[in-house]
């Protein structure tokens, strides 16, 4: 009977400790972010102003949205190098629909941009899920192909004179909060909810953790893999629309090498590139960390040359601090 009691108590204690560890594991990087913010707020009086916080959030929104989609992809042990190109293609097609001789409404333009993003993402999904092309190769091919299509679509020229109704999604504000920030927050909320509370979300973890076991458990691994790329494309399309609206023109060269920052946000946020473990919360923190670093370095007036060195060191340092906290 005595033994019985111990073994019943033990789990509870273990669970609490494990819970703490889990919090550390997930939120260790939050501590790093907070420390960085404190340092910056002492170094620059403007850092903690409302205006600057709005700047940071606005500047994080695009990479953040891409990183949300990337999190899904990386959780399945995949990678999507084509998000920057999809962003540009969706932006330019979307923009072209709301300008020119017979402009459509902003709603149509935005819908089309999202559709283009999702469609290109779906092609990635097919290549990876159905034709078993390694994600790196499939999306590298798409990185090149979608960029080419973007330039072909409008002969290499930007789409300008976007109507105000369209620009609103990039430049507007609701109750003082910039629209891109609101969109970003909504995306995070929805995708976080899906990942956590739906069967689909749990299946993403299963597929990334062990595809064979997932299949044995009756999960259609192909559909899951296909869908994360399609969703990633959809979000890249959304980011493309917001970026076009923010810069008031859809540029064919937009979003170049954005994939690196998006993946960085995911990995800094603790999601493993081998799939199956990680969280969207981590990604958001990772994206914010990158945003704060860029913002802080600009505020402090660090020169272009040194900025890159400092940025590299901070990124590695943040993950290092995070890792060493985990070890304790």
């Amino acid at each position: 009977m005595n033994t019985q009691t111990t073994s019943l108590n033990a789990p509870v204690a273990q669970s609490r400790a494990a819970h703490m560890r889990e919090i550390y594991r997930r939120y260790g990087i939050v501590a790093v972010l907070i420390v960085l913010c404190i340092v910056l707020s002492f170094s620059n009086p403007y850092f903690l102003t409302l205006g600057n916080i709005a700047d940071i959030l606005r500047q994080t929104a695009i990479n953040g949205i891409l990183a949300v989609g990337m999190t899904y992809v990386v959780l399945t042990a995949g990678i999507d190098l084509s998000v920057g190109s999809i962003l540009a293609l969706a932006g330019i097609i979307s923009g072209s629909l709301v300008t020119g001789g017979h402009p459509h409404s902003a709603i149509v333009g935005i819908g089309a941009g999202l559709a283009v993003g999702a469609a290109v993402g779906a092609v990635n999904g097919l290549l990876v899920a159905r034709l078993s092309i390694p994600p790196f190769v499939a999306t590298l091919g798409m990185l090149s192909a979608a960029r080419g299509l973007t330039f072909i679509y409008n002969d290499g020229m930007p789409v300008t004179d976007l109507p105000d109704s369209y620009l609103w999604i990039g430049t507007g504000a609701i109750a003082g909060v910039p629209v891109p920030v609101i969109v970003f927050a909504l995306v995070v909320a929805v995708f976080w909810f899906i990942l956590r509370y739906t069967t689909y979300g749990r299946y993403i973890y299963a597929v990334g953790g062990n595809a064979k076991s997932a299949k044995t458990s009756g999960i259609s691994t192909r559909k899951i893999i296909f869908s994360v790329y399609a969703l990633g494309g959809l979000l890249a399309g959304l980011a493309g629309i917001i970026l076009a609206a923010r810069t008031t023109s859809a540029l064919p060269q937009a979003g170049m090498s954005y994939e690196l920052d998006a993946i960085a946000a995911v990995v800094i946020g603790g999601t493993s590139l081998t799939g199956g473990s990680g969280s969207l919360g981590g990604t958001v923190v990772g994206a914010l960390l990158i945003g704060v670093i860029n913002n802080g370095l600009n505020l402090l007036g660090v020169s272009s040359y040194y900025q890159q060195v400092v940025k590299g060191v901070i990124i590695v340092g943040a993950v290092l601090l995070d890792a060493s906290r985990k070890k304790q």
């Binding site: 620059n44 403007y46 102003t49 205006g51 600057n52 700047d55 606005r58 500047q59 695009i62 330039f151 002969d155 290499g156 020229m157 930007p158 300008t160 004179d161 430049t171 910039p178 970026l243 923010r246 810069t247 008031t248 023109s249 540029l251 064919p252 060269q253 937009a254 170049m256 860029n294 913002n295 600009n298 505020l299 402090l300 007036g301 020169s303 272009s304 040359y305 900025q307």
Partner: protein, 310 residues
């Protein structure tokens, strides 16, 4: 027999080089089939451009029009083509050494100087400015920064608060200037951008911080469509870099090198510039395409000079 000319340009991702390419393809000799033109995208990489030179030399192109990513690195490629007796005409960006058959382009140092002077004038010779630079190490960045430096060194009352690269990118410049505006609230009196895209990003930043762009003078370089529109709205000034003159001028000089003295230039740019850029006999070592400041008054007219595709 059609003449085969290769155009090796540093990269086709920006609007200016797109305009340049359109102008090249609109040259009368290309349109009537005398010349078959192939444009090689250097993808902003000196090695890629070197490789493309190899390919053109192997295929024995009749002439090469060259817009290098880098002055120094371009020299090696030019020397190789020259050794194979292929004339190389520089355009837009210079190459070190003397192996170029000729060069048709605008002087980026001058452009930097002109835009800095315009800004200084706009703020009455006194105040704080920020400078948004091109990608560090690229020729246009180096020269334009040099010109800006030269001009500002003569005006001790103008203080440079910040200078940093935004890599020719509108999105990058937007974020950068937003942060600068936060860090120097109410202190930035003018913005010097080394191209139009970055100037436009700066204007967006002003708007997003609730600042009227008309109150803060912004200068750019290039005269792309969006830039000229902004000039018309009174939000900036820019310096028109005549892509047509650079591209078609280079084409004419190339054809002169291939076909000999009998060739007469066919682009209408020579007539347009007249004495400001004389053809001579088409063998000058260098042709300098002048800059034109774009102001609301001439904006409409300059917009018409932008080369469109087809």
């Amino acid at each position: 027999k059609t003449i085969r000319i290769g155009a090796a340009v540093y990269g086709l991702k920006g609007e200016f080089m797109q305009m340049w390419t359109n102008a090249l393809k609109a040259h009368p000799a290309v349109k009537d089939g005398t010349v078959q033109i192939t444009v090689f995208d250097g993808n902003y990489d000196a090695l890629t451009q070197g490789n493309q030179f190899d390919t053109m030399i192997t295929q024995k192109y009749d002439a090469i029009i060259f817009v290098p990513i880098d002055k120094a690195a371009g020299a090696a490629a030019v020397a190789k083509a020259a050794a194979a007796n292929i004339p190389v005409i520089g355009s837009n960006t210079r190459v070190s050494g003397d192996k170029l058959t000729s060069y048709v382009g605008s002087d980026d140092v001058v452009a930097g100087r002109m835009e800095a002077e315009a800004i200084v004038k706009a703020i009455g010779g006194k105040g704080n400015v920020v400078i948004i630079e091109g990608p560090i190490g690229q020729s246009a960045q180096i020269d334009r920064s040099k010109g800006i430096q030269e001009a500002l060194s003569k005006t001790p009352d103008v203080k440079v608060l910040e200078h940093k690269t935004a890599n020719w990118s509108r999105a990058e410049s937007l974020g950068l200037v937003e942060n600068w505006l936060t860090g120097h609230p109410g202190q930035i009196n003018a913005i010097i951008a080394e191209n139009d895209d970055m100037a436009l990003g700066a204007i967006q930043a002003l708007k997003s911080k609730g600042i009227d762009p008309k109150k803060v003078p912004v200068a750019g370089i290039d005269g792309i469509v969006d830039g000229i529109s902004a000039v018309k709205r009174g939000e900036m000034t820019t310096f028109f870099q005549d892509s047509q003159a650079q591209a078609q001028g280079a084409m004419d000089v190339a054809l002169r090198a291939v076909l000999g003295a009998s060739y007469k230039p066919r682009s209408d740019i020579w007539a347009a510039y007249g004495e400001k850029m004389p053809w001579g006999d088409g063998t000058a070592k260098s042709y300098t395409v002048p800059w034109t400041q774009v102001v609301p008054a001439n904006a409409e007219e300059i917009l018409k000079r932008i080369p469109k595709s087809h």
